[in-house]
C-alpha cells in the first residue's frame, strides 16, 4: 500500500526512481544519440523509449501530436538533407537515398532525445525533482523556484485552453490569429491569470512558511539498489548504441 504522501496519479517503477538517476540516464541517452551512427541501433533505442513512454502513461495527446508532427515533417527533413548534400557527380537516386539515410539518422536522434525527456517529465513531479536537486546541495530557494517554474508550464497550458474555450464561445475564430489584435482576447487573460496565480501562489507559499524560512524542502531520497541498477543498465545500453559501428 503506497504511502499517501508519495501518491502520484500513476505509479510505475520509473515513477519511483530517484530523479537524479533518471536525469543521468537521460543525459547518457542524449550523448549516445549524437555519437551513434548505426541506424538499427538508433531505431531500436527509439522503439524502446517509445514503449517506455507508453508504459509510464505519458503517450497521451502530446505523444500522439509529436509522432504526427514527426511523420508529417519528415518529407521536408528528407528534402533538406538530400538537397544540402547534393553531389552532381552521383546519380539522382543515390543523392535521394543519401538524403534519406542522413535525415533518418537525425530524425531518430531527435526522437530519442525528445522521448527520453518526455519520460522524465511524465514520471517526475516537480516537488520530487526539486527535492532531488537538494541532493546536489542546490539552495532550497533555487529548488523551490525551479519547482514553481516547472509547475507553471502545465498550469499555463491548462489556463490557455480554458481561455481559448471561453473566447470561442464568444465568436473568436482561430483563423484570425494572423492579426496581432486577435491575440489580445487570449494573451491578456492569460497574462493576468498568470500574474494573479503567481501572486496567490506566493501568498500561499508564505502562509505555508516557505517565504519566511520557517519551512524548507524535504531532503532528497537516498539511492537504493534499483537506482544503481537502472543507471548501470542505461549506461551500458547507451555505450553499445554509441560505440558499435
Amino acid at each position: 500500500m503506497p504511502m499517501l504522501s508519495g501518491l502520484s496519479a500513476r505509479q510505475t517503477w520509473l515513477h519511483a526512481l530517484e530523479p537524479r538517476a533518471k536525469l543521468a540516464a537521460a543525459t547518457a541517452v542524449v550523448c549516445a544519440a549524437f555519437l551513434a551512427t548505426h541506424p538499427a541501433l538508433l531505431a531500436g533505442a527509439v522503439v524502446l523509449l517509445a514503449v517506455g513512454l507508453w508504459y509510464v502513461g505519458g503517450a497521451g495527446r502530446l505523444g500522439r501530436r509529436l509522432l504526427g508532427a514527426a511523420v508529417l515533417g519528415y518529407p521536408v527533413a528528407w528534402l533538406v538533407f538530400a538537397l544540402s548534400n547534393w553531389d552532381n557527380s552521383q546519380p539522382a537516386l543515390q543523392n535521394a537515398l543519401d538524403g534519406l539515410y542522413t535525415s533518418g539518422q537525425f530524425a531518430l536522434r531527435l526522437l530519442a532525445i525528445i522521448l527520453a525527456n518526455l519520460i522524465i517529465v511524465a514520471t517526475t513531479d516537480p516537488r520530487q525533482f526539486a527535492r532531488s536537486l537538494r541532493g546536489w546541495r542546490a539552495p532550497s530557494e533555487l529548488c523551490l523556484m525551479l519547482m514553481t517554474v516547472l509547475r507553471f508550464l502545465p498550469l499555463a497550458a491548462g489556463q490557455a485552453r480554458r481561455i481559448l474555450d471561453a473566447q470561442r464561445c464568444r465568436g473568436f475564430r482561430l483563423r484570425r490569429l494572423w492579426l496581432p489584435s486577435a491575440w489580445l482576447p487570449l494573451g491578456i487573460p492569460l497574462l493576468v491569470a498568470m500574474l494573479y496565480r503567481a501572486e496567490a501562489l506566493a501568498m500561499s507559499l508564505e502562509l505555508r512558511g516557505f517565504a519566511r524560512g520557517v519551512a524548507s524542502l524535504a531532503p532528497a531520497d537516498r539511492w537504493r539498489l534499483r537506482e544503481y541498477a537502472f543507471l548501470g543498465a542505461s549506461l551500458a545500453a547507451c555505450a553499445v548504441m554509441a560505440f558499435v559501428r
Binding site: 504511502m3 495527446r61 464561445c169 465568436g171 494573479y196 501568498m203 524535504a218
Partner: protein
C-alpha cells in the same frame, strides 16, 4: 480566553483605488473563537482577510495605517482564498497536501496521518490520487482547505470557502471547522454570504459596510429568499437537445482509482421560454454536460442538436452565434479596456451593427445593476462585479440558448437577484436557459425544471420550492 489576534484602527487603500477599502477596522479574536464576516460583493471582506493573515501590508502594496498584533510571535495562519484554484500547484491532491507539512519536517507515518486527517476533515478522502487539474471548482476549494488544515494552523481564515461547493459539502466543511475549533482550539475567521449558515458555526457575526465592521444581532439582516420568477406559460419549441449523450475523459480522470462515465446516456431538451437547472454534487459532470451544448466537448456516443442541427461537426465558433456560455471563472474571458468593449466583443464578432450592440450592452448592464461600471476596466473590478460582467458578456449577442455555469457563485443576495432577473428576461424573450448550479435557492426562483446529475445519469426531480 486569550486574545489571539487583534487589528486596531486599520485603514487600507489599495494601489490605484481612490478611496480606502478599510476605514478604521478594529477586531479582536480570541483563541478558539469563530468570527464570521459578511457583506456585499466588493465591500472589502477579502482585503480584511489579507490584513489578518499578515499579507497586507507585507505582500500586497497600498496605503496601510493601523496595527495588527498577534498573541505569540510565530502564530501559524492558514488561509483559503476565494479563488482556491490559484493557490494549488502540485500535480495530485496527495502531493498538494503533503507539500506544507513536509516543509515543516514531517515524514513517514506522521506525515501520512496528517494528510489523511486533513482529507477526511475536508471530505476529499477519495481524491488522494486525482490530478488537481481534473478537479471541479468545488473540489479544488476543498483541497485548498485541506492543504491549510494539514498545516495545523492556529488561525484559519476562510475567504468564501464554500462559494463553489454543493450544499451537503458546505455543511460538512462547516461541521469540520466547528470540530477543529473544539478539538484544537483553532481560531477561525470565515467569510460567507449565507448569514444563516455562518450563524450555526460562528460565535459572532460582523458585517463589513462602508469599510467598517458592525456587529449583527441574532435574527438581524437574514437574507430574504429570492422572489419566484417562473414562467407560467407552457414552454415553446425545443431549441437544443441531447440524446443518449455518453462521455468519458480520455487523459485525465482515468488516473482516478475507479474510472467511470462522466455522462452516461443523458437525454435533455431545452425549450424556448424555459429554464432548466442541472443540480448535483461537485464533480458530478455539470460543466461537462454544459460544454456539450456549445460544442466544446463532443459526445463519445449520442447526439446533440442546436436549433435542429447536429453540432458534432459544427465548429464551436459557429454554434456560439446561437448559444451563449457564461463560464464559472470570469477571469478566463475578460480582456477589454472597458466593460462596454468587453460586452461588445461577441456581437462584433457576429457582425452586429454599432447601434444594436450599444442597445444590447446598455440593456444587459441595466438588468444586472452594472450600468455604473460601463467605462471601468473589467480587470480592475471586484470578483462579484467581474462575475456579473462576464455573464453579461456571454449573453450580449442575444443567444437563443443561454448556459450559465454557477452564475451565483460568490455573489451576495442582491447580485444573485440581478442575475435572476436576467434569466427571467431571457425566458421572456423566448430563449432557453440551462443553469448549472448547486444553488438550490436560485434554481427554485428561476428554473421551471430541475434535474439532478449524479453518477453520470440525469434524473428529473420535483422542484423544491424555497422561494
Amino acid at each position: 480566553m486569550a486574545q489571539w489576534i487583534a487589528a486596531d484602527d486599520v485603514w487600507f487603500t489599495p494601489i490605484g483605488a481612490d478611496e480606502p477599502v478599510l476605514r478604521g477596522v478594529s477586531l479582536a479574536i480570541e483563541r478558539g473563537e469563530c468570527v464570521a464576516i459578511v457583506g456585499t460583493s466588493g465591500c472589502g471582506k477579502s482585503t480584511l482577510c489579507q490584513v489578518l493573515a499578515g499579507l497586507i501590508p507585507r505582500r500586497i502594496p497600498g496605503e496601510f495605517r493601523g496595527k495588527v498584533s498577534h498573541a505569540c510571535g510565530d502564530l501559524r495562519v492558514g488561509m483559503v482564498f476565494q479563488d482556491a484554484d490559484n493557490q494549488l500547484f502540485a500535480g495530485t491532491v496527495a502531493e498538494e497536501l503533503s507539500f506544507g507539512p513536509e516543509g515543516l519536517g514531517l515524514e513517514g507515518e506522521e506525515l501520512d496521518a496528517r494528510i489523511a486527517w486533513a482529507m477526511e476533515a475536508a471530505g476529499i478522502g477519495q481524491l488522494a490520487r486525482w490530478q488537481i487539474a481534473e478537479l471541479s471548482m468545488g473540489q479544488k476549494q476543498r483541497v485548498a482547505l485541506a492543504s491549510m488544515l494539514a498545516m495545523h494552523p492556529d488561525l484559519l481564515i476562510l475567504d468564501e470557502p464554500v462559494s463553489n461547493v454543493d450544499e451537503p459539502s458546505a455543511e460538512a466543511i462547516f461541521a469540520a471547522v466547528g470540530e477543529l475549533r473544539r478539538k484544537h482550539q483553532i481560531s477561525v475567521v470565515v467569510v460567507d454570504h449565507d448569514i444563516a449558515r455562518v450563524r450555526r458555526v460562528a460565535d459572532r457575526v460582523l458585517r463589513l459596510e462602508n469599510g467598517r465592521l458592525r456587529h449583527l444581532d441574532e435574527g438581524e439582516d437574514l437574507e430574504q429568499p429570492l422572489p419566484a420568477m417562473l414562467n407560467a406559460a407552457p414552454p415553446g419549441d425545443v431549441l437544443a437537445a441531447g440524446e443518449a449523450i455518453e462521455f468519458v475523459y480520455e487523459n485525465g480522470r482515468r488516473a482516478a482509482p475507479a474510472p467511470s462515465h462522466v455522462l452516461d446516456g443523458i437525454d435533455l431538451s431545452l425549450r424556448a421560454g424555459e429554464a432548466v437547472a442541472i443540480l448535483g454534487p461537485n464533480g458530478s459532470g455539470k460543466t461537462t454536460l454544459g460544454k456539450h451544448f456549445v460544442g466544446l466537448l463532443r459526445p463519445r456516443a449520442g447526439r446533440v442538436t442546436v436549433l435542429g442541427e447536429d453540432i458534432v461537426r459544427t465548429p464551436t465558433e459557429a454554434v456560439a452565434e446561437h448559444v451563449g456560455y457564461a463560464f464559472q471563472s470570469p477571469d478566463d474571458q475578460l480582456f477589454a479596456r472597458s466593460v462596454r468593449d468587453e460586452l461588445a466583443y461577441a456581437p462584433r464578432n457576429f457582425g452586429w451593427p454599432a447601434e444594436r450592440i450599444d442597445a444590447s450592452v446598455t440593456r444587459l448592464l441595466d438588468l444586472l445593476g452594472c450600468a455604473h461600471l460601463i467605462d471601468r476596466e473589467p480587470l480592475t473590478l471586484s470578483f462579484g462585479e467581474k462575475r456579473r460582467v462576464s455573464v453579461a458578456a456571454a449573453l450580449a449577442a442575444a443567444p437563443r440558448i443561454a448556459i450559465l455555469d454557477e452564475p451565483t457563485a460568490a455573489l451576495d443576495h442582491g447580485h444573485a437577484l440581478a442575475v435572476a432577473r436576467l434569466v427571467a428576461d431571457l425566458k421572456a424573450r423566448g430563449a432557453a436557459v440551462l443553469v448549472l448550479t448547486h444553488d438550490l435557492r436560485f434554481a427554485s426562483a428561476v428554473c421551471e425544471r430541475h434535474c439532478v446529475l449524479e453518477g453520470g445519469r440525469l434524473h428529473s426531480v420535483e422542484r423544491k420550492c424555497r422561494c
